[in-house]
């Protein structure tokens, strides 16, 4: 019973974390461009937690983050579905093929995650709303976005590792 309660609290905290990232993205980040592109904070937050044993929380985070993006953007359900596809693919592939976790792997996941997310977003917005964003997919800006998101995931994971280390040190004492 105590475990379930703990799990629920952890899930709620994760959803709150993604919610804050999404609000930050739609109000603040989308005003400041880094070399012509903006990072995708929700994607960074989700990819950072791709190996989270509580995968249901990650899925709920993707739903919340995607819904906020969609209601603040042009199309409904496009971001939401793109996040879900990306997270599920990465979670199961990661589980199947990655034997040893490495911090630099997060950087690679950030790059690949951006490609997958943008690919799904472009495809869905084309088929559902007839919007053509293919030009962006083959642009230099997309390359820059990959790098920024990759770096973002790496930094987020580094911070998380630091806190884990701190927690374990305090726990030992």
């Amino acid at each position: 019973m105590k475990n379930i309660f703990k799990q629920i609290i952890k899930t709620l905290f994760f959803i709150l974390f993604i919610f804050i990232l999404a609000i930050f993205q739609v109000t603040f980040i989308n005003r400041y461009y880094l070399w012509g592109t903006e990072p995708n904070m929700v994607l960074i937050g989700l990819l950072c937690n791709i190996f989270n044993p509580n995968f249901a929380a990650v899925i709920l985070g993707a739903i919340v983050g995607g819904a906020i993006y969609d209601f603040s953007g042009l199309f409904n359900f496009v971001s939401f579905l793109s996040f879900l596809f990306t997270i599920i693919i990465f979670h199961f592939w990661g589980k199947k093929y990655i034997l040893k976790k490495n911090l630099f792997l997060n950087f690679l996941f950030g790059i690949l995650g951006t490609i997958f997310y943008n690919f799904f977003y472009i495809l869905l917005s084309y088929f559902l709303f007839n919007a053509n964003f293919f030009q962006y997919f083959f642009s230099v800006s997309h390359l820059i976005e990959m790098g920024i998101n990759g770096l973002g995931v790496f930094i987020f994971c580094l911070i998380a590792e630091f806190f884990n280390l701190l927690k374990s040190l305090i726990w030992k004492k």
């Binding site: 999404a22 609000i23 993205q25 739609v26 109000t27 603040f28 980040i29 989308n30 005003r31 400041y32 461009y33 012509g36 592109t37 903006e38 995708n40 995968f55 899925i59 993006y69 209601f71 603040s72 953007g73 042009l74 199309f75 409904n76 359900f77 971001s79 939401f80 579905l81 879900l84 599920i88 199961f92 943008n118 977003y121 472009i122 917005s125 559902l128 919007a131 053509n132 964003f133 030009q135 962006y136 642009s139 230099v140 800006s141 997309h142 976005e145």
Partner: protein
């Protein structure tokens, strides 16, 4: 076995969600069902944005406010002169029977939402059908500098496609030689002009204006300056890059021209 079952259940839930959402997205024509919710959401986000900005730039805003109050007082005195000059000008025009070239009606609008992703360079403004806004009307700022065009109108809000959006196109004139071209958004900066033959000489820093030939925008709306001209061998058109006059991501208000037709 348990793991397999778990993944099967997750896939089934996701598949169900996709089917439900796709039906919902396709059936809700123009996303009509969610307009009310979206409008309310945009307003909440706008408030959150103002709050965040207020927290982060409090000192800067305070300084800016002091400067603006001072400027406002100076401008108020200038306005009195302007009003008397305007009246005089109107009387003279009437006496000489000169037709006004551009007598635009402007509607001031606040930007209340921006696209959170890199794909679409669009934003939401707080004026809509009730204020006489229609699809296709130009959006300007800072002395008739083109910012974008209205692509979707709702009761109290409208969506604006900025000049840097991939779907944006406008007929333009380059520099004093008035060379014709087609401005295209890139989805990112800089913008570029297409359909200018290689044998035409285009100078750097030439000013770009709308030509009005596309029957979409009125003529002489300022867009920006030529930043780079490349003539690539084998190509029949030049690659002309433009630095826009305004960065729409830094704007908080815009004007919509409501009487272009």
């Amino acid at each position: 076995m348990k793991e397999k079952q778990k993944s099967k259940i997750i896939f089934l839930i996701i598949a169900g969600l996709i089917i439900v959402n796709q039906n919902f997205a396709l059936a809700a024509e123009d996303q009509g069902r969610l307009i009310g919710f979206r409008n309310a959401w945009m307003k909440i986000m706008n408030e959150a944005d103002s709050f965040l900005r207020g927290l982060l730039y409090f000192k800067q805003i305070q300084e800016e406010n002091n400067t603006l109050v001072f400027q406002n007082r100076a401008l108020e005195s200038l306005l009195i002169d302007y009003q008397s000059l305007k009246k005089e000008n109107e009387l003279l025009r009437e006496a000489l029977k000169i037709k006004k070239s551009d007598n635009f009606n402007f509607v001031l609008a606040d930007i209340i939402g921006r696209s959170p992703l890199n794909f679409s360079q669009t934003f939401v403004i707080n004026v809509g059908e009730q204020d006489g806004i229609k699809v296709g009307q130009p959006v300007v700022w800072g002395g008739k500098s083109l910012v974008g065009e209205i692509i979707d109108v709702r009761k109290n809000t409208s969506i604006v496609r900025s000049i840097s959006d991939t779907e944006f196109k406008a007929a333009v004139l380059i520099g004093e030689k008035r060379i014709e071209g087609l401005l295209k958004g890139n989805g990112f900066l800089p913008l570029y002009i297409d359909l200018v033959p290689v044998d035409v000489e285009v100078n750097q820093n030439s000013k770009i204006y709308t030509s009005g030939l596309d029957n979409k925008f009125p003529k002489n709306l300022y867009i920006g300056d030529v930043s780079q001209v490349d003539k690539i061998e084998g190509k029949i058109f030049q690659d002309i890059k433009i630095e826009p006059a305004l960065d729409w991501t830094k704007l908080y208000q815009v004007f919509v021209i409501t009487n272009t037709n």
